[in-house]
């Protein structure tokens, strides 16, 4: 499961305004990647280009052996069936209730019987914790519920690629954390390739396997989470630490005098904050795309900042990792060991792990 997305030299402009140019990256199959960037750097445009809603001016998007921007219309619609997309506000059809919204792709693209459709839809609704809201109209539910309904609809055809546009917009931090847990559990369960576009630094630091940063019409960096979190590159460093210190200014790039003044004030301690441990599935599954904590740093001779990979309970995940994996493979399919509420403590300990969608009850 999961398909690799290979982007080569992608350029997009609206009229004379270049949104981004020469973006090349490979989103590995089955892994979770996050795309970051200051407001207005065209992250959503990038997402829409990936599904072929917008046509790039130059470049290729390879999904397997198909180059998306150059596909004829019929094949484009066919290829889109590989994608599930969660839009910012869920993009539910206002005239249909939640059930019909989620059932829509099944009714359109499959010849499944109505009872089969009902079974699948209820299963997906359970997965995102929406049982009981079947007959509500999109106008009658909250923003968080809309997002989850949109997610259920995106999942109903078992996509190979899931694109998510700002899952945290308009959600409180607690709901955002829960939704992130849902993404991780889902990834473990269906193994699809995930690309999440977000502003949320906490999401970016703890959820993905890979991080990309769009800045000033270019892809500043794309790579494994540990690579970016330990990077000394000023833009990457400033953004991933949500800091005012660095080259990114309020509206544009800071000029040299501002940067000099900043340097003189000696605000920069020169220390990177510790790399947090990655959030882990709560459903007792092991994600295929997951890497051992510290593996990238060790392989590239990078010393992670002090205090890295230590969770809120004080456990060092570099040491815990082999035991965790062993216990997971021993009890595969059964409940995860109670002693390992994984992740950085982003969901309540009283939630029984090993239950699909356990993180979705909010």
């Amino acid at each position: 499961m999961g398909v690799e997305i290979r982007v080569e030299g992608l350029t997009k402009a609206f009229g004379r305004q270049v949104i981004w140019q020469d973006v090349s990256l490979t989103i590995p199959a089955g892994e979770i990647s996050v795309l970051l960037g200051p407001s207005g750097t065209g992250k959503s445009v990038f997402l829409k280009t990936l599904v072929g809603l917008l046509k790039p001016d130059r470049g290729h998007i390879w999904i397997g052996d198909r180059d998306l921007p150059n596909l004829p219309e019929a094949q484009l619609y066919e290829t889109r069936k590989l994608f599930g997309v969660l839009f910012q506000d869920g993009a539910l059809f206002g005239s249909m209730n939640i059930f019909d919204n989620i059932a829509f792709p099944l009714r359109e693209h499959t010849k499944k019987s109505e009872s089969e459709v009902k079974r699948i839809v209820l299963e997906k609704m359970d997965l995102v914790g929406l049982i009981g809201a079947e007959h509500k109209l999109p106008g009658e539910i909250s923003g968080g519920m809309k997002k989850r309904a949109g997610l259920a609809r995106a999942l109903v055809l078992d996509p190979e690629i899931l694109l998510v546009d700002e899952p945290d917009s308009g959600l409180d931090p607690v709901r955002t954390a829960f939704l992130n847990q849902v993404f991780i559990d889902l990834n473990a369960q269906i193994g699809a390739t995930f690309l999440i576009v977000t502003h949320d630094i906490n999401t970016a630091r703890t959820v993905p396997d890979n991080i990309g940063l769009l800045y000033q019409r270019h892809l500043a960096m794309f790579g494994p989470r540990e690579m970016l979190l330990s990077s000394e590159e000023p833009v990457v460093r400033q953004f991933l630490n949500a800091s005012k210190i660095g080259p990114i200014g309020m509206s544009e790039e800071k000029d040299e005098s501002e940067l000099e003044a900043e340097a003189k004030m000696g605000l920069d301690s020169g220390m990177l904050p510790p790399i947090p441990p990655q959030q882990m599935p709560s459903n007792g599954l092991v994600r295929r795309g997951m890497h051992a904590p510290g593996a990238w740093c060790a392989a590239h001779g990078v010393t992670p900042p002090p205090g890295s990979f230590i969770d809120e309970l004080g456990r060092n995940w570099i040491e815990e990792w082999p035991r965790y994996v062993a216990s997971m493979s021993a009890g595969a399919g059964a409940a995860a060991p109670g002693g390992y509420p994984p992740g950085g403590g982003h969901y309540p300990g009283d939630m029984p792990p090993g239950q699909p969608g356990a993180g979705a009850r909010y």
Binding site: K48, R80, V85, F87, Q88, A91, L92, F93, E108, R153
Partner: protein, 284 residues
């Protein structure tokens, strides 16, 4: 090629203005946009829509729902516009006819005026003002809620699913609206002529088909059909290109009404001109 309105608009939209050459370039851009790009994109949408029209399965459910919706927003206003329209024609033409001493032809002139010209005109007003604007608002709000994008991502062509049934429903209902305006207008004309202008019912009714002929009605129905298609396409084009939140939808609706009016009046003129060229008037 100077269009001051557009230049000002562009200046307002972009915060960073260049020098005078920048302004000039923007004016040029705006003019090119209005003269070439917009009509080009509209034409592309028209072609795509006609291609999507022959794709199966046809969306009957949507077609019927939309037809009913259009009927519900147009029927009452149509009748309310048609009654005074018939009345005013009677008043104006009736007076003239009396001066010319041809009272026995009041009915004939009313039929010609209403069936040939007035009813397509009233239909066009209602189709553009009520049906087109409602349709554009619907599609535009779907666009800004990203429903259209979601639909495309789910592998469904919104032109086939939304635009084709709406366009055909609009044309279908326009045919009946035209008939409705003709009937209501004639009844209104009769009432005004007989009751207010002391015309005789016999004169009004007897000369009914003295000048009017069947092709008059057919060309009116043809016009109504074309108006419906045009209104549907313009509404779809503007709705699908709405951007910038609720205000964007408002702007799109506004533009839809204005553009549709202009196109319908132009079409009305062209069809009438062709009709008079090709269909000989009835000899008396």
């Amino acid at each position: 090629m100077s269009t001051p309105g557009i230049g000002a608009d562009q200046r307002g939209r972009r915060r960073k203005g260049g020098g005078s050459s920048g302004t000039l370039r923007k004016v040029g851009d705006g003019a090119a946009n209005v003269v070439i790009r917009e009509p080009g994109r509209f034409f592309a949408l028209v072609l795509d829509t006609f291609r999507a029209m022959f794709k199966l399965p046809f969306q009957w459910r949507e077609f019927i729902q939309q037809s009913w919706f259009i009927v519900s927003v147009t029927v009452v206003p149509t009748m309310l516009v048609a009654i005074p329209f018939g009345g005013i024609l009677s008043l104006q033409v009736g007076g003239l006819i009396r001066q010319l001493g041809a009272q026995s032809y009041t009915g004939a002139t009313a039929v010609v005026a209403i069936v040939r010209e007035a009813s397509p005109l009233v239909t066009s007003l209602l189709v553009a003002g009520a049906a087109g604007s409602a349709m554009c608002a619907d599609i535009g709000s779907r666009k800004i809620r990203e429903e259209i994008d979601a639909m495309e991502v789910l592998g469904i062509n919104p032109l086939h699913r939304l635009v084709v049934p709406r366009m055909l429903a609009c044309a279908f209902v326009a045919l009946f609206l035209n008939g409705l305006v003709s009937v209501v207008g004639l009844v209104g004309g009769y009432v005004f002529n007989v009751m207010l202008q002391d015309g005789t019912p016999g004169a009004y009714l007897a000369s009914f088909n003295a000048i009017a002929q069947l092709p008059d009605l057919l060309q009116a129905e043809f016009k109504a059909f074309v108006f419906g298609i045009t209104a549907g396409l313009v509404a779809a084009y503007k709705g699908l290109n709405a951007k910038g939140g609720p205000k964007g939808v408002g702007d799109a609706v506004n533009q839809t009404v204005v553009i549709t009016f202009m196109l319908l009046f132009l079409e009305n003129f062209i069809i009438s001109a062709l009709y008079f060229q090709f269909v000989p008037s009835k000899g008396m």
